[in-house]
Symmetry: C3
Subunit: 341 residues, 3 copies
């Protein structure tokens, strides 16, 4: 028997709206720790991780770990039928192939229950490590969403560059170029308006705007977004869910040859295996925090985070984008390696 009850039911609606366009089908993992999900987008370029901790619910009961495969579009359709002030209950009996969503109006005058068939979905569990990042930017989520939308009207990719002074978002397209700089600003009236930069090293990475815009659909969940960047790691775009957990989006950077100095590039290419030279080798330790949610029955399959191949770069830029991130399960089941070959 699994049952959770959330008075602030609109939060679940927002969670589904934020991930349903990125992921079609996914397993929700239910354990004593909480209600979580981890899934790659259909083109295996981005990864979404959701955690709603059990303490955050008004009622939470999970007799044994279960994994419920759901079509997120259909789940979102059902949750859309909940009023914004409704109390939402999700429940599933042991061994049942159905999940029930129940919505209660605040006055208890309207009670809805929706039943949905569960799906068998091949689980793809990546151990996601807590990494050290070169730069962490916290900024208003609405500002980040606006920037991604604005840049999309000019180009297809965004270069995010972080210095101590601020974070710069740049793009270029057929009609011109754009640079948007947000300065560090901690002396604001409302904490949610702050832009705070924690930086160890300057970093500059390129990402597909299409995915950034998709991540920005989580904006209604949190007033601030946290963007964690390292030159050799996927970016993490995180929206905290107040007192409950988070939605985190991971996206591998696009890897491009240096365009400033063609001679350096040629030299680099002459050294035998030029493409291999430019690819970061990522070795990632398993994420201890994420582990408890993993159903021990589920096989951790090999997953590839492949950056988009359709590049709309200027001719002088050359993308090398065969970055693969694979989780490997060692014999003891505890150490996973995410590497790029």
């Amino acid at each position: 028997m699994f049952e959770l009850r959330l008075v602030q039911g609109s939060l679940l609606k927002k969670v589904l709206e934020s991930i349903k366009d990125l992921v079609n089908d996914a397993n929700f993992d239910c354990s004593a720790t909480g209600f979580s999900l981890q899934a790659m987008d259909s083109s295996h370029v981005a990864l979404v991780a959701l955690l709603l901790r059990s303490e955050g619910f008004e009622h939470y009961r999970c007799d044994r770990n279960i994994s419920m495969g759901m079509n997120l579009g259909n789940m979102a359709k059902m949750l859309k039928c909940a009023g914004n002030d409704d109390i939402v209950t999700i429940k599933a009996d042991d061994g049942s192939d159905c999940v029930t969503f129940m919505f209660e109006s605040p006055t208890q005058d309207k009670i809805s229950d929706f039943e949905m068939k569960l799906m068998d979905i091949d689980s793809e569990h990546l151990g996601i490590p807590e990494s050290e990042y070169d730069a962490i930017v916290r900024m208003p989520s609405s500002e980040f969403a606006r920037i991604c939308k604005d840049l999309s009207s000019i180009g297809d990719t965004v270069v995010i560059s972080v210095t101590k002074e601020g974070v710069k978002f740049s793009t270029r397209g057929d009609i011109g170029t754009a640079n948007i700089v947000c300065r560090q600003n901690t002396s604001v009236d409302k904490p949610e308006d702050a832009t705070i930069i924690e930086m160890k090293e300057m970093v500059s990475l390129t990402f597909a705007l299409r995915y950034m815009n998709s991540f920005a659909k989580a904006t209604p969940l949190a007033s601030q977004v946290t963007i964690s960047l390292s030159s050799e790691l996927p970016v993490v775009v995180e929206y905290k869910i107040a007192e409950m957990g988070y939605v985190r989006f991971y996206l591998a950077p696009k890897i491009e040859e240096e365009e400033a100095d063609p001679y350096v590039e040629t030299k680099s290419k002459a050294q035998g295996k030029p493409t291999a030279e430019t690819k970061p080798k990522l070795e990632i330790k398993p994420d201890v925090e994420m582990k408890p949610e993993v159903d021990s029955n589920m096989d951790n399959e090999v997953v590839e985070i492949k950056p988009e191949l359709e590049s709309k770069m200027e001719p002088e830029e050359e993308s090398k984008t065969d970055l693969d991130i694979k989780p490997k399960k060692e014999a003891n089941g505890e150490v996973q390696v995410m590497d790029v070959e």
Copy 2:
């Protein structure tokens, strides 16, 4: 000469918006009693009846009964040009083939007049009786509209079931099932939030959601909707128009075999004429109240209310949907019979 004047002109705009998608062309019947319309939708499954009583108008003059055939889409286009605070006048000279809509702004600074050609439309007058219904549900019109919209995201039909405790709206579709229960609630702060059930017998009927959603376009006309149900009659969905009259929608129920017990079903089918067995025979007396609006020159033709035949039921359900509702005019022109064969 026919002329009516309505200070609250936005009301006529709302009336047209509520019926124009259901009915393309219709005759407006103008008599001393009021301004009324009765028409079937283009697929002859639903019927709409509008009455605006003469007392409700600031000015109402009707020298002799006339019937004005109009294209409701074009009429709605013209009424849309009225400001929401405009005073609306509709007038037609005797023998003219045109109708004039005049809109006066509250300050009288802007005066618009729109002229539209009238059409010859074969009139289809059904005598609609005042029936006794098994159950009458009054509920907030916005709640009813929301429920029909929500259920449409899951299925194509709605089962409306009434008990003393409340009214249940159910559907099923490819992605799952949904049940929404609205409890009787008379102790509300605002009368328009009440849900009131008058029930003689429990009733459970199935309708096409497509039509229910179409009826719900009348929601801006009234804060409450009244749904009258009997097992052998078309449902009546009524929106009262304050101090003037009503818009009423009639829809024949879909008739389905019992799905709970296959043996009962088989037995029922074995009794010779199974399909005839499951069809209600409706005999309907003419509606005295509606009569005065009928132009004595117009022939009352035979009209069929045919339920939709394209059924998207689960395989275990079998629809029998040859329900025909025909008005028949007897020799004395006073008794009409609406029956289902």
Copy 3:
């Protein structure tokens, strides 16, 4: 070096939104006087003239007259990225083939710069004279926009007729006819609600509603619109830009045969060159005020304002629409003639 700075940056966004659908590519002319534009729509039926005087900007520097060819759609895309409270700077270095748009948030925490390639556009400079008009109507811009939109649901053209009492907008289409009269009204609480008519002669002219609706996109720029009409001149629809200048739209009237009396029409046609008879001959002196913005390097080409030829008139109406308005440059370069042959 050219540089302008405007604290009220949203104004530039509104200017671009008002003209980008009418004109694809155009030269912005920058001189000591101000920032201006003059362009014909792609079908050469309408002309738009924009003036933003240098005094209206917080900062304005123009070392020498330049003409910057821009795609207005792309420019609008970039300006859309400015926040509504942003300060906008436009700058171009001498000899550069680029223009830069810079947006600063009020708190200076977000600085964006967008760079766009300039285009070579054949300049089409008409001298637009300050004419005397038969009738000038000032009315609320939102009212004018509403009327044009409403009439478009009925017909394709509008007849604007001015008398001392008011201005009448009329149309006819397949579904009927419409007349909207706005009465002169100077005794209003707010000056922007006034409708003021200055009339020397009664005038009645026909225009394509498609263009009027396009002009009405400038409504957010000003609370009042001024419509200047003469029987032999293009109409001028002007939106003043507070303390800076204006956007003016010019549209040649459609010329139609009299439909009231077919004999008169026949007689007129019998007089040898009937079409020439019905066409106004416009001779227009060059507009002194507009001159300073004209780059002396640019050739003033011959431009034709051609009324739309696709007429959706009733069969009894016959359009004669070969009205050509051509600017001619005389030897001394000072006198231009706009005539209709």
